[in-house]
C-alpha cells in the first residue's frame, strides 16, 4: 500500500477512503479468493511440488528432480494418451467449429417456427456427458441402431442412388431450359430442385413397382466399434475407432451451444454489408467466405479457445465407457492422471502430477499461441 501508491500524496481523507474501499472490496471477494487460494493455487503449487518428488499418497514426499517427468515421457500409455488427446482436441474442435458455423448460417433465417428448432437442436447440449455417452454406447453396439441404419442404407442404396441420379439429370435439364428462356436460374435453383425431386421420386416409385430396381438383400452390418481398431497412416496408429465414436458424440453435443454463439455473432453483422455484396453480384458462397467468416472472427476465436480447453480435458466419456473398450484406444491425458492417482497400492502420484502439469502447459500454450497469432487486430 505505502510503497508507490499515488494515494500517499493525496490528502488524508481521500487516502482513508481508498483504504476503506480496498477493505470492502477484499471483504466482498473474500469467499471467492480464499477458496480459490486453497483449492486452486495451493493445489496447483502442490501438484508442481509433487511432480518433482517420489510421492505415492502414503509416503513422505522427497524431492527427486525431474525423474517423474522422464518416467512419464517414457511411459507408453502416457504417449498414447498424449497422442489421443491431441488428435481428439484438434479433430473435434475443427469439426464442431465448422458445423456450428454452418448450422448458425442455416438457422439465421427469419422463418416461422425458428424458436422451436432452436430449442430442439439445443437438447444434446443440456444433458450430461454421462447420459449421452451411455446412449451412444447403446447406439453403437454390434447390433445397435447405428449399424441398423447402415444396413438400411445398404439395402436402399439402389433406390437412393437412382433418386439422386434422376434428380441431378432433371435439374440440369430444367436449368438449361430456363436459361434458354433468358431466366437467371442458378444450378441449385430451389424451385426447380423441388420439381426435380418430385420427378425423381415418381421415377423411383415406378421403377420400383415395375421391379426394375429394388431393395438389395444385405446381411446385417456387424461392425464392432468399441474394439481395438485403428485408422493408421503407414505404421503409425493415428485414431482409434472408439475415439472416433467419441469425436462424433462430442461434436453432436457441443455443436448446438457453439451454434448459439455464432448465431449471436451473425445477428450483430450489419445487413448493409450483405446488401453491398448483393450489389456486387456475390454468390452465397462468396458472401459466406468474404463477409460472414471475417466478421465472425472474434466469435470464432472464442469458440476455438473454449473448444480446445474443453476437448483437451476430455475425461467423462472415457471413464464412463471404462472397460467396454480397450484402454489404449481411449486413454486421454486427463484419464491418465486419474488412473495413476487412484491405482491400487502405491499409486505413482508423482507421475500423475507430472502428467497433469504437462496437460496444463499444453492447454496454456495452445491458448497463448492462438491469442498471439490468430486474433484479428480489429478484434482487440
Amino acid at each position: 500500500m505505502t510503497i508507490t501508491n499515488p494515494t500517499a500524496k493525496r490528502p488524508k481523507a481521500a487516502r482513508s477512503k481508498q483504504s476503506q474501499t480496498t477493505t470492502t472490496a477484499l471483504l466482498f471477494l473474500a469467499p471467492f479468493l480464499i477458496t480459490t487460494l486453497i483449492f486452486f493455487f495451493y493445489a496447483f503449487a502442490r501438484a508442481i511440488y509433487y511432480s518433482f518428488t517420489d510421492f505415492n499418497l502414503f509416503n513422505t514426499p522427497k524431492l527427486i528432480g525431474i525423474k517423474p517427468y522422464m518416467d512419464v515421457l517414457a511411459d507408453p500409455s502416457f504417449r498414447r494418451a498424449l497422442a489421443n488427446s491431441l488428435i481428439f482436441a484438434i479433430v473435434t474442435t475443427t469439426l464442431q467449429t465448422v458445423f456450428s458455423l454452418l448450422m448458425a448460417v442455416a438457422l439465421n433465417n427469419k422463418i416461422r417456427g425458428m424458436a422451436f428448432f432452436r430449442s430442439a437442436w439445443y437438447m444434446p447440449s443440456i444433458t450430461s456427458s454421462v447420459v449421452i455417452t451411455l446412449i451412444f454406447l447403446w447406439l453403437f453396439q454390434r447390433r445397435g441402431i447405428a449399424n441398423y441404419l447402415i444396413t438400411q442404407w445398404q439395402a436402399y442404396q439402389p433406390l437412393i442412388l437412382t433418386f439422386l441420379g434422376v434428380l441431378i439429370v432433371v435439374q440440369i435439364a430444367q436449368v438449361l431450359w430456363e436459361r434458354s428462356r433468358k431466366l437467371p436460374a442458378g444450378w441449385i435453383d430451389p424451385a426447380l430442385a423441388a420439381v426435380s425431386a418430385l420427378i425423381a421420386l415418381v421415377v423411383v416409385f415406378i421403377l420400383n413397382s415395375t421391379g426394375i430396381i429394388g431393395l438389395r438383400e444385405v446381411a446385417p452390418y456387424d461392425y464392432q466399434y468399441f474394439a481395438d481398431k485403428w485408422i493408421s497412416i503407414g505404421n503409425v496408429r493415428v485414431l482409434s475407432i472408439p475415439l472416433l465414436v467419441i469425436i462424433i458424440q462430442n461434436t453432436f453435443t457441443t455443436v448446438p451451444t457453439l451454434m448459439l454463439f455464432f448465431l449471436a455473432g451473425l445477428q450483430s453483422i450489419p445487413g448493409s454489408l450483405y446488401e453491398a455484396a448483393d450489389i456486387d453480384g456475390a454468390t452465397p458462397y462468396q458472401k459466406l467466405m468474404n463477409v460472414t467468416v471475417p466478421m465472425l472472427r472474434p466469435v470464432t476465436f472464442y469458440v476455438v479457445t473454449v473448444g480446445l480447453i474443453g476437448t483437451m480435458q476430455m475425461f467423462d466419456q472415457v471413464a464412463v465407457i471404462g472397460s467396454a473398450a480397450p484402454q489404449d484406444t481411449l486413454i486421454t491425458l486427463a484419464f491418465y492422471v486419474y488412473t495413476n492417482t487412484f491405482k491400487n497400492g502405491a499409486a505413482p502420484v508423482n507421475m500423475a502430477s507430472a502428467a497433469a502439469i504437462v496437460l496444463a502447459l499444453i492447454i496454456l500454450s495452445m491458448v497463448f499461441v492462438q491469442r498471439k497469432f490468430f486474433v484479428a487486430p480489429e478484434a482487440n
Binding site: 481508498q18 474501499t21 480496498t22 470492502t24 472490496a25 477484499l26 466482498f28 471477494l29 469467499p31 471467492f32 479468493l33 477458496t35 483449492f39 486452486f40 493445489a43 496447483f44 501438484a47 428448432f117 432452436r118 430449442s119 430442439a120 437442436w121 437438447m123 444434446p124 443440456i126 444433458t127 450430461s128 454421462v130 447420459v131 451411455l134 454406447l137 447403446w138 447390433r143 441398423y148 431466366l183 435453383d189 424451385a191 426447380l192 423441388a194 453432436f252 448459439l260 454463439f261 449471436a264 455473432g265 472474434p298 472464442y302 469458440v303 480447453i309 480435458q313 475425461f315 467423462d316 464412463v320 472397460s323 467396454a324 486427463a334 486419474y338 487412484f342 502439469i357 496437460l359 496444463a360
Partner: protein, 509 residues
C-alpha cells in the same frame, strides 16, 4: 409501341412470379433441412426413451411401434394388474387372487395336438446392493390350463394362475415386512410395531424356513393374532412351451422373449399393471437398487444427492459470485487486475486434473469426502464471477451514486440496490450452475467414495459397469432418461436465459 410496353410489363410480372416462386421453394427446402437436423439431434434421445420402455432394448431390427405404448396391450396389462394385485397401476400377485392368460397355439395337420406346457419361473435381480433371496411366485401359485375355443388349426388355451391364501382365517388384511425371526416368524407392521406371525396351516408351516427377512407379506388379523396369507410378488414370470411343429400365434400380452425356434415363449410378468409393463425399467431402477434393510433405494439417494449438490452450488454462486463480480466491476483497488487475470481467467484455463491430488488429499484429511467436500471444492465458480462482473459493469452508475448520497454503505448498496436489479443475470447464473452441478462428473467421481453418497452421474456410470457387461441396457437407458429429465424441465422453463447466457459471453468474450 403499346404492344412492346405490354410485353415488357408481362415479362416483369413473370419475373416477379418467378422470384416469389423461388422464395417459397427456398423456405420449403429450409424446413426440410431443419426437420432432418431435428431428427438428428433429438433422434438419439427419442430412440433411447422409446427403447427404455421395451422388454429388450437391444432387439434387432429395432421396432418403433412397441406393445408397451399400444393402447390395447397397455389396457390388458392394466386388467392383469387388477386381477393379480388389485391394482392396475402397480400390478403384482397377492394371496387369494386368480389371473387368466390366453395363448393361441396353431397345430398344422401333421403336428402333435398336445396342449402347451405352461410353467412359472423364478426371477432374482442382479443388484448393486445385497438383496436377500426373495420368495418366488412359482413356489406359491398353481397353474391350470384348459382349451377354451378352436378355429381351424388354431386352439386357444386359457391358463389360470391362482394363488391360494395360506390361511383360512378372515378379517382385516394387512401388508407387512418380515424381520429377523427368533423361534417365531416375526413381521413389522406399517406402524412400526413388530408382531408374531401365526402359521396355522400345513401349507404355511411348510414355507416357514423359505421366507427370508425383508420379504413383504400379507397378514390377516383375526382375534388378536396375525395369520400369514402369503408373500407379495411384484412379478409373475411365466413360460409357455409347445411341441415341434406347433407355433404360438397369439397371447394376451406379447412375449418378452422367444427361444427354441419360437416354440418357447417367456413372459417376464403376467401381472404387470401399467408401471410393470410400460415403465418396468424405470421401476427396476428404483426397486432393484433398494437396500432391503433401510428400505431406501440407492437410485433415489442419488437423485436426492444430485438435487442437494445442485442446490448448494446455486446458492453459493448466487451469493458469492455476485459479491465478487460486483467488487471486481465497481471498486477500484490495488491488485484488481491481477485478481481478475489470475483468479478468474487463468483458473478457467487450467484443467481440474492439476488440482486432483492436492484437493483429494486435503479433503480426505478433513474427512470431507462427501457432498460437503464436493461443495467446498467448487465453492465459488470463476465462470460465475466472470458472468456477474460483466453484468454489473453494464449497469448504470447513477443507482449507486444516489444510494451513497442517501448514506448507504457499500454492502447495503449492493444488497438493497444492485442485487434486486440483477434478476436476469442471477437467473442465468443459477441455470448455468444448476446445469454444471447436475452434470458434473469428474469431481463427484473423485471425491465421493461411498455409493450412498454418489450423485446421479457417478451412480449411472456404476450402473453401466454392472449392467452394461450383461447387455441389460433397459435399466441403463431408464436411468439415463430419468437423470436427464430435471435439466430438460429447467431448460423448457428458462429457455430464454439459456440462449442469452451463451450468446452474451460469446459476443463480449
Amino acid at each position: 409501341m403499346t404492344a412492346i410496353q405490354a410485353e415488357r410489363r408481362a415479362a416483369a410480372s413473370n419475373h416477379d412470379a418467378w422470384l416469389s416462386r423461388r422464395r417459397w421453394a427456398r423456405a420449403g427446402w429450409l424446413y426440410v433441412f431443419m426437420l432432418v437436423m431435428s431428427f438428428f439431434f433429438l433422434g438419439p434421445f427419442l430412440m433411447g426413451l422409446l427403447s427404455s420402455m421395451k422388454d429388450n432394448p437391444n432387439e434387432y431390427p429395432p421396432k418403433v411401434i412397441i406393445p408397451q405404448l399400444t393402447a390395447q396391450y397397455v389396457s390388458r396389462a392394466y386388467n392383469l394388474g387388477v386381477q393379480g394385485g388389485n391394482s392396475g397401476w402397480n400390478g403384482g400377485l397377492t394371496p387369494g387372487r386368480e389371473v387368466t392368460f390366453d395363448v393361441s397355439v396353431r397345430s398344422p395337420a401333421d403336428a402333435p395336438k398336445d396342449a402347451p406346457v405352461v410353467s412359472l419361473f423364478p426371477y432374482q435381480p442382479v443388484s448393486l446392493v445385497a438383496i436377500a433371496k426373495q420368495a418366488q411366485a412359482k413356489d406359491y401359485a398353481k397353474l391350470s390350463t384348459v382349451q377354451v375355443s378352436q378355429s381351424g388349426e388354431t386352439k386357444v388355451y386359457r391358463t389360470t394362475v391362482s394363488y391360494p391364501s395360506l390361511t383360512a382365517q378372515t378379517g382385516e388384511v394387512i401388508r407387512a415386512k418380515l424381520v429377523t425371526p427368533d423361534s417365531d416368524v416375526k413381521a413389522q407392521l406399517p406402524g412400526g410395531e413388530i408382531v408374531k406371525v401365526t402359521l396355522d396351516t400345513p401349507a404355511a408351516q411348510a414355507k416357514q424356513y423359505e421366507l427370508s427377512e425383508t420379504q413383504r407379506v400379507e397378514l390377516v388379523k383375526a382375534g388378536g393374532n396375525y395369520y400369514l396369507r402369503g408373500p407379495l410378488f411384484e412379478r409373475t414370470p411365466m413360460q409357455v412351451d409347445v411341441q415341434r411343429g406347433q407355433s404360438i400365434v397369439n397371447s394376451t400380452l406379447p412375449p418378452s422373449d422367444k427361444q427354441n425356434f419360437d416354440r418357447s415363449f417367456a413372459f417376464r410378468n403376467v401381472t404387470p399393471g401399467i408401471l410393470g409393463y410400460t415403465f418396468n425399467n424405470y421401476r427396476r431402477a428404483f426397486n432393484e437398487t433398494m437396500d432391503p434393510k433401510s428400505g431406501r433405494s440407492l437410485f433415489f439417494s442419488w437423485v436426492l444427492n444430485s438435487f442437494l449438490y445442485a442446490f448448494l452450488r446455486v446458492a453459493a454462486a448466487v451469493v458469492f459470485c455476485s459479491l465478487a463480480g460486483y467488487a471486481l466491476a465497481r471498486f477500484d483497488f490495488p491488485g484488481k487486475n491481477l485478481i481478475f487475470l489470475g483468479a478468474v481467467l487463468f483458473v478457467q484455463m487450467v484443467p481440474s486434473q492439476v488440482n486432483l491430488v492436492s484437493n483429494y488429499v486435503l479433503l480426505k484429511d478433513l474427512h470431507l469426502l462427501n457432498i460437503w467436500g464436493l461443495w467446498l471444492n467448487g465453492f465459488v465458480a470463476a465462470g460465475g464471477v466472470f458472468l456477474m462482473k460483466q453484468f454489473f459493469e453494464g449497469m448504470p452508475k447513477e443507482l449507486e451514486e444516489s444510494a451513497s448520497i442517501d448514506g448507504a454503505g457499500p454492502f447495503t448498496t449492493f444488497w438493497k440496490v444492485m442485487l434486486p436489479q440483477a434478476g436476469p443475470a442471477l437467473i442465468a447464473l443459477a441455470i448455468t450452475q444448476f446445469q454444471g452441478a447436475w452434470n458434473d462428473f469428474f469431481w463427484p467421481l473423485v471425491l465421493l467414495r461411498q455409493n450412498t453418497d454418489f450423485t446421479l452421474t457417478v451412480g449411472l456410470s456404476s450402473f453401466s459397469q454392472l449392467y452394461g457387461g450383461q447387455g441389460d441396457y433397459g435399466l441403463i437407458l431408464a436411468g439415463a432418461i430419468l437423470s436427464a429429465i430435471p435439466v430438460i424441465i429447467v431448460f423448457i422453463i428458462f429457455q430464454r436465459y439459456f440462449v442469452d447466457t451463451g450468446s452474451d459471453s460469446a459476443v463480449k468474450g
